[in-house]
């Protein structure tokens, strides 16, 4: 079942108290494949694995419905550095 890009965006912002979210539909519009960038203070002090688990858990139902899901997770501080680089 396809997921709407905007709905996924809103869900990630809400569930992860995200400062910034980017959702890229990599499925050519069929809504089955997404890449997301999430910036949240919730990631502070967590390993990649812990961050990804947090994201996975927050949109469990949605991930189960799509074919591909790829994520990049940053704390606000890491994101600021990333933007400067």
């Amino acid at each position: 079942m396809p997921i709407a890009k905007d709905a996924l965006h809103a869900l990630l912002v809400e569930k992860l108290q995200a400062d910034h979210v980017e959702v890229i539909d990599t499925s050519d519009g069929c809504g089955q494949s997404f890449e997301v960038i999430i910036v949240s203070t919730l990631f502070e002090g967590k390993s990649s694995l812990q961050r990804h688990r947090l994201v996975n858990d927050s949109i469990k139902e949605e991930i189960a419905q799509i074919h591909a899901f790829s994520q990049k997770t940053y704390t606000p501080e890491q994101w600021a550095k990333q933007q400067q680089a």
Partner: protein, 140 residues
């Protein structure tokens, strides 16, 4: 041998997708996965195999491991058995394939392995786990 072991316990596949996924991981399958991840230092649950990955994410993980000098890792093709495909997701509480296990521990999927590779953390990790020799350039 891993795959044939699963075939022996094969039962008719449930087609009620919404209900079925949580129930795929029987005690029997769990103990088989337990054994497999412990028996192989590096085990990758993927779509296809090393020679012919059937998904870009699986291909990426295989290539990253090889680029880091890990050649003799074991793979399980989840497309060969729907119960394994669903069961492994429940086993690791991880929703996507591929999944990389090192010394019995779940390390991550494609994004995490890729991130670790790019930061150099993967090489370090593999050395610390004894998968790769410590000395730089020791691998021929």
């Amino acid at each position: 041998m891993f795959r044939t072991a699963f075939r022996q316990v094969a039962t008719p596949v449930l087609r009620t997708q919404t209900v079925a996924w949580r129930r795929f991981l029987s005690d029997d399958l769990r103990s088989q996965i337990d054994k497999a991840v412990k028996d192989h230092d590096v085990l990758v649950f993927m779509k296809g195999n090393k020679e012919q990955p059937q998904c870009g994410f699986s291909r990426a993980v295989v290539q990253i491991l090889q680029a880091n000098g890990v050649d003799d890792f074991k793979t399980v093709n989840v497309l060969a058995d729907e119960k394994v495909r669903s069961g492994i997701k429940e086993y690791s509480n991880w929703p996507t394939i591929p999944q990389v296990y090192v010394k019995g521990e779940f390390v991550g999927g494609c994004d995490i392995i890729m991130g670790m590779h790019q930061s150099g953390e993967l090489q370090q990790f593999l050395e610390n786990e004894g998968i790769l020799p410590k000395e730089e350039g020791a691998k021929q």
